[in-house]
């Protein structure tokens, strides 16, 4: 005879599959939910059901939102529709939004090119971006991809594909992070910072 009922065991196994969790934290979470049915479990169930029913991928930019076929960012008329910021995933889009310093539109690529993982251009939403550039009145594209080998290889490839002399293409700066100390920086970051220095 097992100590844990079948239903709880199933819940623990499902929770343990979530990112950052394992069987041990799954057990803790399950126990917490069971103990606090009304204050935690019921609102959680309601929130999950609501998200399941309403959240969808924006047909325009690839963001996740519950606003309808298009996301809140694309529908917001106060935002600058002539600027598109290209990001790798929705988590990067959220990071940009947290900074509260960008008021344009986005485009979620859905990954980066990788020879090792066999991710080619057709696996990304590059053609969709090309359509947006062609059909919308885009004036600037900001490439905000990670400063990794794969991220920057993708950035250069993107530049080739969306090249248009009438559209300004920019990318995020590489260099010393805010609050960073030179002594603790690696050689690569310092040389990147030096080569992209600007007038003071």
């Amino acid at each position: 005879m097992t100590m844990i009922s079948q239903e709880i065991d199933r819940l623990i196994k499902l929770l343990a599959k979530l990112p950052g969790l394992g069987p041990r934290s799954g057990r803790r979470m399950a126990l917490h939910l069971i103990k606090k049915k009304t204050s935690v479990m019921d609102p959680l169930i309601a929130a999950l059901q609501e998200v399941r029913a309403t959240v969808q991928t924006c047909i325009n930019c690839g963001n996740l939102d519950s606003a309808g076929k298009q996301c809140g960012v694309c529908l917001d008329e106060k935002r600058d529709a002539t600027t598109i910021c290209v990001v790798e995933g929705v988590d990067d889009l959220w990071a940009m939004e947290r900074s509260n310093s960008y008021k344009g539109h986005y485009h979620v690529l859905g990954g980066v090119l990788s020879a090792l993982d066999g991710v080619g251009p057709d696996d990304l939403t590059i053609s969709k971006l090309q359509d947006r550039v062609k059909n919308d009145n885009v004036q600037e594209i900001i490439i905000a991809l990670n400063a990794t080998l794969e991220g920057q290889t993708t950035a250069h490839y993107l530049l080739e594909r969306i090249y248009n002399p009438n559209i300004k293409v920019t990318r995020l700066a590489h260099g010393v992070p805010v609050g960073g100390e030179l002594d603790y920086l690696d050689d690569g970051t310092i040389s990147a910072a030096l080569s992209s220095r600007r007038p003071f």
Binding site: P19, G20, A115, L116, D117, G118, G120, A147, T148, L149, E150, Q152, T153, H156, Y157, H174, D186, D187, G188, T189, I190, S191, A192, S195
Partner: protein, 241 residues
């Protein structure tokens, strides 16, 4: 407990669970090795596991045949030298991806390691494309299909080597090519005379290595490597070196 410590060049990393990854290294004494590394999202590790980084690796496993775990310490990163150049990034991505697929694991390739190191160090110089082609030739040779480019296979001469036979992979002197000239592959001078290569010679070098690589590595798993390489050659053709 099996363990070893060695210097290695990071070839690539595949995500494995939360914050972990399976790292592919080309090590000096142990060849192509894989192992799990933890905390990949930490500031120090992100740069250490970038392809092309030179690291000191400690590999541990309970038994020798296990996948094992890596502790990595960054010695030198090449990312800063290449991040502004699309051509360099394409070359490094292509070559590291290819090594992962083509090299058997745990077989020492010390010469190949030294040549890859030379190529990575050359990325901060102007002659890096010459080193890239030389590295590809080394790779073909180390895998058992070496080209013999120092002596004419017809006359035995060591001078005026201008062509390579596509059948034997051996050099042919200009005077000995005769009516077969059009069927032979051009041999760029920097491979035999150690001179500085111009754009045409670099493209000839790419054509030479590509010809022999495509003969021996035609399986679909190498497709992405040849696509990246093709993009690199197209970029070279359209931009000044």
């Amino acid at each position: 407990m099996a363990t070893w410590q060695d210097n290695g060049i990071v070839l690539g990393v595949r995500p494995f669970g939360e914050g972990k990854g399976v790292i592919h290294l080309l090590t000096q004494n142990n060849g192509h090795c894989t192992g799990v590394a933890r905390s990949l999202k930490s500031k120090n590790m992100r740069l250490a596991v970038s392809p092309g980084s030179l690291v000191q690796a400690t590999w541990r496993a309970r038994l020798d045949e296990h996948l094992g775990t890596f502790s990595l310490e960054l010695i030198k990163s090449s990312l800063g030298a290449i991040i502004e150049s699309q051509q360099k990034m394409l070359a490094l991505s292509a070559v590291t991806g290819f090594i992962i697929k083509v090299l058997p694991e745990r077989h020492p390739y010390e010469y190949l390691y030294q040549e890859l190191l030379k190529f990575i160090e050359s990325l901060s110089t102007e002659d890096w494309l010459q080193y890239y082609i030389k590295f590809e030739l080394t790779m073909i040779g180390e895998l058992g299909f070496a080209l013999k480019l120092d002596q004419c296979c017809v006359t035995g001469s060591f001078d005026d080597l201008k062509y390579v036979s596509p059948k034997t992979g051996r050099a042919v002197a200009s005077g000995a090519a005769g009516p077969y000239k059009d069927k032979l592959l051009p041999l760029p001078g920097f491979l035999t005379q150690g001179v500085k290569a111009d754009k045409n010679q670099i493209i000839e070098g790419f054509q030479l290595t590509e010809y022999f690589m495509k003969i021996h590595y035609c399986e679909p798993k190498y497709k992405e490597f040849f696509t990246m390489r093709e993009r690199l050659v197209n970029l070279l053709k359209s931009y000044p070196i």
